[in-house]
């Protein structure tokens, strides 16, 4: 092989190597481009989810603030007015007319009951009060109110060793339970309402069930009726705290909602 043909081979080899390198570069570019695009899609999904969560959080905060205001109004204004009415009734001089006297006594009882009921309602709406009591006691309190109403039997069970969650999560769980109770009272036509909290070491399971007429869950995916809206709210709330929300219902046999909340022992989830 003379020097000239050696140089020609060198040219050909170098030229081809450069072209193959460029083709490799283009393939690498396509790979990188697709990887970045996939990353960008994931990022926008994350942002969307974060935005949705923030929006939901804000909605819940506004709702809590409204409930707190209503609770204060009930306590400070209506409660105060009823207390004054009761005081007036108490300070009334005994009347001769026995029938009238009985009416006054009945009115005193009714006003007393109204004051008690309003106090209970005010407590269950008050965010601070619920957070101070904790989830378990707040649910007990709520069930006591249902028992007092006397329309259905309310059973509450606790399984496992109780622990406290962080206040925000407890409040959201409590609001879900309230919504569930509300649905049962308004729509289920039930005789028994049952709530069970099970404390697993790494999960909190909360179950609310009834023996009512049940509900057809299929339309929930299609239209947002008021009832569906309530269920969606419960679902959204559960999502907000990273809980799993399940709902099962059988017509004429009752409905059950179950919430599984993972508990991270190394974070501030747990408040003993």
């Amino acid at each position: 092989m003379n020097s000239s043909s050696g140089e020609i081979y060198f040219f050909i080899v170098v030229g081809n190597a450069i072209l193959i390198g460029l083709i490799g570069f283009i393939l690498y570019f396509v790979f990188q481009y697709r990887r970045r695009k996939a990353e960008s899609i994931r990022e926008s999904q994350r942002m969307e989810e974060k935005f949705r969560q923030t929006l939901l959080q804000t909605q819940l905060e506004i709702q809590e603030q409204t409930l707190k205001t209503i609770s204060q109004e009930i306590h400070d204004n209506i409660g105060q007015a009823l207390t004054l009415a009761k005081l007036n009734l108490n300070t009334m001089l005994p009347v001769v007319d026995e029938q009238l006297q009985q009416k006054i006594l009945n009115s005193k009882e009714l006003v007393g009951k109204a004051i008690g009921d309003l106090r209970d309602l005010s407590h269950s709406l008050d965010t601070d009060y619920v957070q101070e009591m904790g989830l378990q006691r707040a649910i007990e309190y709520e069930m006591e109110m249902i028992r007092k109403a006397g329309t259905m039997k309310a059973i509450f069970q606790v399984q496992g060793t109780p622990y406290r969650l962080n206040k925000q999560k407890e409040l959201i769980l409590f609001r879900i339970v309230q919504e569930a109770f509300n649905n049962i009272i308004k729509h289920a036509d039930a005789k028994i309402l049952k709530a069970v909290i099970t404390y697993f070491p790494d999960t909190l399971k909360l179950e609310v069930s009834d023996d009512g007429k049940g509900v057809d869950l299929s339309p929930l995916n299609e239209t947002a009726t008021n009832f569906g809206l309530g269920i969606r709210n419960m679902h959204k709330r559960a999502q907000l705290i990273g809980a799993e929300f399940n709902m099962n219902s059988t017509l004429q046999a009752g409905t059950a909602i179950t919430i599984f909340l993972p508990v991270e022992t190394n974070t501030d989830d747990l408040k003993q």
């Binding site: 170098v14 450069i18 072209l19 570019f29 396509v30 990188q32 970045r36």
Partner: protein, 215 residues
């Protein structure tokens, strides 16, 4: 007229007609590309006529290379979004025109092939295509990369001008050593054909509505 030259001309005519038919649907850079293909077609025909009359077609390339460079520079001017890159391209156009005149007057006369300018043109096109690849990596479009006309056009430019640059270097070496250059000329023809086929793909899939281009 050889079959491969005829094939090359037919391809240019097809692309030019395709570009004209889709002209309103094309984005501005691809409209410029269509005009440039028209200019290439005209230059190739004039070049053939000059070869038949004077046995030398170099004068055409002294003019056409400026048009070619300006065309590509404008295409990249509209494709690139960085202000700095755009300014550089405008300066390059002015510089290249000055150099071309200088080259024709002092370095390579009208009757010799303007290879100096062609090599610079190759370098600048490769540089612009790399800039565009960089920009594409940063600005992800919704459309799949293989459906983007800009991607195909840019690949064609990068590969074609690199190959042309290497070929011309090799060609000069062969001429200097008085060796046969026929194979290289044949390769250049096929490179041109391959290049215009890929450019054709890009013109075919380019759509004003699908590809947002800053103007």
């Amino acid at each position: 007229m050889t079959i491969r030259f005829l094939l090359y001309l037919i391809l240019l005519v097809y692309l030019f007609v395709l570009g004209l038919i889709r002209f309103r649907k094309l984005t501005l850079p691809f409209q410029i590309l269509t005009v440039l293909i028209g200019c290439t077609l005209v230059s190739e025909i004039i070049s053939r006529i000059l070869i038949n009359i004077f046995k030398n077609s170099s004068p055409v390339y002294h003019v056409f290379n400026i048009v070619n460079f300006t065309g590509y520079a404008l295409i990249y001017y509209f494709l690139l979004q960085s202000r700095l890159s755009r300014k550089i391209i405008l300066l390059l156009i002015a510089g290249a025109v000055c150099f071309s005149v200088f080259n024709t007057v002092f370095l390579q006369s009208l009757w010799s092939f303007p290879s100096n300018f062609l090599l610079i043109l190759c370098f600048l096109n490769i540089y612009c295509s790399l800039l565009l690849f960089r920009q594409m990596l940063h600005d992800n479009e919704d459309i799949d990369i293989l459906r983007q006309s800009v991607f195909w056009f840019n690949c064609a430019v990068l590969l074609f001008y690199t190959a042309i640059f290497l070929n011309w270097s090799f060609y000069n070496y062969l001429v200097r050593n008085k060796l046969n250059t026929r194979t290289i000329s044949t390769i250049m023809y096929y490179l041109n054909i391959a290049y215009y086929i890929i450019v054709g793909v890009s013109i075919h899939i380019n759509n004003r509505k699908a590809v947002p281009v800053k103007r």
